[in-house]
């Protein structure tokens, strides 16, 4: 990797036309800013996935039209007080040089980036303060967000012109990557760039970062080089992890997968155990795999809540279980949710109900609690199910709830 300077900085768009894709959004924004769009809204909200050029557009536009950007982003506190202290002065006057004519100076523009990141508690009153500013502002107010659908932004959306950004189309990203390769003297296979672009899922910033991290001097970037790219910022779900786990060809492949995945390992272990018989239909293979899963569980037991250094052995055993017989893999439908849900039948209330029943049996029949459960409950429930003898119920001093519980105890 060449790290003299980050390419995302070096090739940050300087003009509006440098920004790839989202032509409609760009045009709308410029129209609004230059007053050519018929709207009474004094603010805009640019929204869309990360890395598609929202911030870049604001910066490039400011440069082209000569605005000074007053910016507040998620790293700043945005409580009511903070917003009023910083944003209010910036929006309540129009720069003198705006009237000096001829020059490009147009004064301030307030840019609130990442408004979906306004936190509930720390930024108390932030949203209403912003709305107040928008209403009184003499200068353009621009906001950007990834997810405009969250509740707390609803009042903001009312006072804003909404401009939507889409994922940048793959061919445009490829073209941009080719341009950067040319300027950086990087030789790359077309397929490699294509894979980087596809992997980015329309996020230009991550595509450029990937390209920089993969390119080496005097080396042709091949498709093979790009295969190790993980899906950036995309959580690998439980299903995806399980599917990858069961279809893996080697222990290494599984280790890599488990390392990248962020699924809860207790839940994952259970799901592996649930699905193992569907993966291995041959009894020999199933026994071998289950033996390893059982060992993984033993490591889990030893880890407890503190010996986290043992986690690697847990993953090792699991990885081995996945690779017991790679050649026998056939796609199958995953069992979800976990089948042990049945054991949830034993809520605390039911347990204490059974405990009470066993105590009563123990008192009458001279047996311990556990013996009552094992040697009496199965018969007593059966007797009551067949013949609800009130004398027997009275003798045990069972409450109506306890009788009901025994009668409903599931039969095989």
């Amino acid at each position: 990797m060449r790290i003299d300077i980050l390419w995302v900085e070096k090739y940050r768009p300087k003009k509006i036309e440098d920004i790839v894709g989202n032509e409609e959004a760009k045009a709308t924004f410029v129209e609004w800013l230059t007053g050519k769009r018929k709207t009474t809204k004094k603010a805009v909200l640019l929204y869309g996935p990360p890395g598609v050029g929202k911030t870049a557009l604001v910066n490039a536009t400011a440069k082209e039209f000569g605005f000074t950007i007053i910016e507040m982003n998620a790293s700043d506190t945005r409580s009511e007080k903070a917003v009023n202290e910083i944003a209010k002065p910036a929006t309540s006057y129009v720069a003198l040089d705006a009237f000096s004519g001829g020059t490009k100076g147009k004064g301030n523009m307030l840019f609130l980036d990442e408004v979906d990141g306004i936190a509930g508690n720390e930024d108390r009153g932030g949203v209403s303060a912003i709305i107040e500013i928008v209403e009184k502002s003499l200068v353009p107010v621009i906001m950007a967000a990834n997810d405009p659908d969250i509740d707390k932004l609803r009042p903001l959306k009312k006072v804003c012109l909404l401009i939507r950004f889409h994922q940048v189309r793959i061919p445009l990203i490829i073209a941009l990557l080719q341009k950067i390769c040319l300027l950086e003297h990087v030789k790359a296979e077309f397929e490699a760039l294509e894979h980087i672009a596809q992997n980015s899922k329309g996020d230009v910033r991550s595509a450029i970062n990937d390209l920089q991290s993969l390119s080496e001097e005097n080396h042709v970037l091949t498709l093979q080089d790009t295969m190790g790219l993980s899906s950036r910022n995309k959580d690998i779900s439980m299903d995806e992890t399980l599917r990858g786990f069961f279809s893996a060809k080697s222990i290494d492949e599984v280790s890599g997968l488990l390392f990248r995945s962020s699924v809860d390992y207790d839940e994952f272990l259970m799901s592996v155990s649930d699905n193992l018989p569907k993966r291995y239909t041959n009894p020999e293979e199933l026994a071998a795999a289950f033996d390893l899963v059982s060992q993984a569980d033993i490591y889990r037991g030893r880890i407890g809540t503190e010996n986290w250094h043992l986690l690697k052995y847990f993953y090792n055993a699991l990885s081995e279980a996945a690779a017991v017989a790679p050649q026998s893999y056939k796609p199958f439908e995953l069992i979800t949710p976990p089948i042990r849900i049945i054991t949830l039948f034993w809520t605390k209330g039911k347990r204490s109900m059974l405990d009470a029943i066993c105590r009563k049996i123990g008192a009458q029949c001279h047996v311990s609690h556990s013996k009552a459960k094992k040697d009496f409950v199965p018969y007593v429930k059966e007797i009551l199910q067949k013949k609800k003898s009130s004398a027997l119920i009275d003798w045990f001093k069972f409450t109506p709830e306890e009788v009901d519980f025994l009668i409903k105890m599931s039969k095989y």
Binding site: S273, L392, W395
Partner: protein, 332 residues
């Protein structure tokens, strides 16, 4: 034989109250009767043996013979599996043995029956040892356990140990027939045999199964009814689970496992113990095969104590069974 008319579970109703009424166990009852002639000579007793063979019954018989109908006032009956800590020993047992020092009128001593005392913790046993020593003039202990080896040596050496073995098959058959007579229903001979064979020398199981079968049908119990009871009411359908696993129907076996856990709230350890028991009941396995399966069970019993999740260890055990069943497929 005196019948406890108030009791509605037959195991209680027909529990003998005097040593003369006890089925089988002649050697033991004869020795105990000798003690009864002069109760002061009775040492602390330990009854060891498999479940359902009359240990608790004999202890209660002794209480009856010593104290008559008011036996409960002179007897402390504790189940160590419910109250197994040192606190119980220190508080309840010590208090009782101290109280008995003040005298019970004509009673020679107070009686402390400690059932399932192989479940007692080590420290509790050590505490017990002291109390047995200091209170021997005022109290007698009857310690009941499945395995005497789980009781510390010093306690064993303070007791006269009686070992209970499996009850005689014919004596059990006669006994369930006698109960059927008392309850006024006809018990088919084949049905009686089925019940006794199923119970494997555990009279408690046999009587419970008999009472359950009688609830199925008025006045008559045949073999079919007994089979139904064994199927429906047997503690767990562990055999069904084992067989399915051995036939290679892993998914089905695991489903049964979850049913067993789900309906009774049994823990993994309890289920593994039952598996071990059931394996030895299965007549279609050779002794060598049983031994091999037992080895596998032992391994997973241990893993269960080490692991985090009993579902997984039990599933892994069933997978081993499926592999085993597959390997012996030809002969099984």
């Amino acid at each position: 034989m005196a019948v406890n008319e108030e009791a509605l579970m037959w195991v209680e109703k027909y529990r003998p109250k005097s040593l003369n009424e006890v089925v089988d166990l002649h050697d033991i009852t004869e020795s105990l009767k000798a003690f009864m002639k002069n109760p002061k000579t009775m040492p602390h007793l330990m009854f060891a043996g498999i479940p359902g063979t009359g240990k608790t019954t004999l202890a209660l018989c002794i209480a009856h013979e010593l104290f008559g109908p008011s036996w409960k006032s002179f007897t402390l009956e504790l189940n160590a599996s419910d109250e197994r800590g040192i606190d119980t020993v220190r508080e309840r047992i010590k208090d009782f043995s101290r109280y008995s020092r003040t005298g019970f009128g004509n009673a020679p001593f107070g009686l402390i029956i400690l059932d399932e005392c192989d479940q007692m913790t080590g420290p509790a046993q050590t505490a017990l040892r002291r109390i047995m020593e200091t209170s021997s003039r005022t109290s007698r202990f009857i310690l009941i356990c499945n395995q005497s080896s789980k009781i510390i040596e010093p306690i064993q050496s303070r007791c006269a140990i009686f070992r209970f073995s499996r009850l005689d098959r014919q004596a059990m058959i006669d006994h369930v027939q006698w109960i059927a007579q008392q309850e006024n229903f006809k018990l088919e001979p084949a049905a009686a045999e089925k019940i006794v064979d199923f119970a494997e020398g555990d009279l408690r199981h046999a009587i419970n199964a008999l009472q359950t079968a009688s609830a199925y049908k008025e006045g008559y119990v045949d073999e079919k009814t007994v089979l139904l009871v064994i199927g429906e009411a047997s503690p767990m359908q562990v055999q069904k689970m084992i067989r399915k696993a051995l036939y290679g129907e892993f998914m089905e076996a695991r489903k049964t496992m979850y049913e067993i856990m789900g309906s009774f709230g049994f823990s993994g350890t309890e289920i593994i113990r039952q598996i071990q028991r059931e394996i030895f009941k299965m007549s279609d396995l050779t002794p060598e095969q049983k031994a091999e399966l037992s080895n596998i069970i032992g391994e997973y019993d241990y893993r269960l104590t080490q692991g985090a999740n009993s579902d997984i260890q039990l599933s892994a055990l069933l997978a081993q069974f499926a592999k085993f069943g597959n390997a012996i497929g030809e002969t099984y």
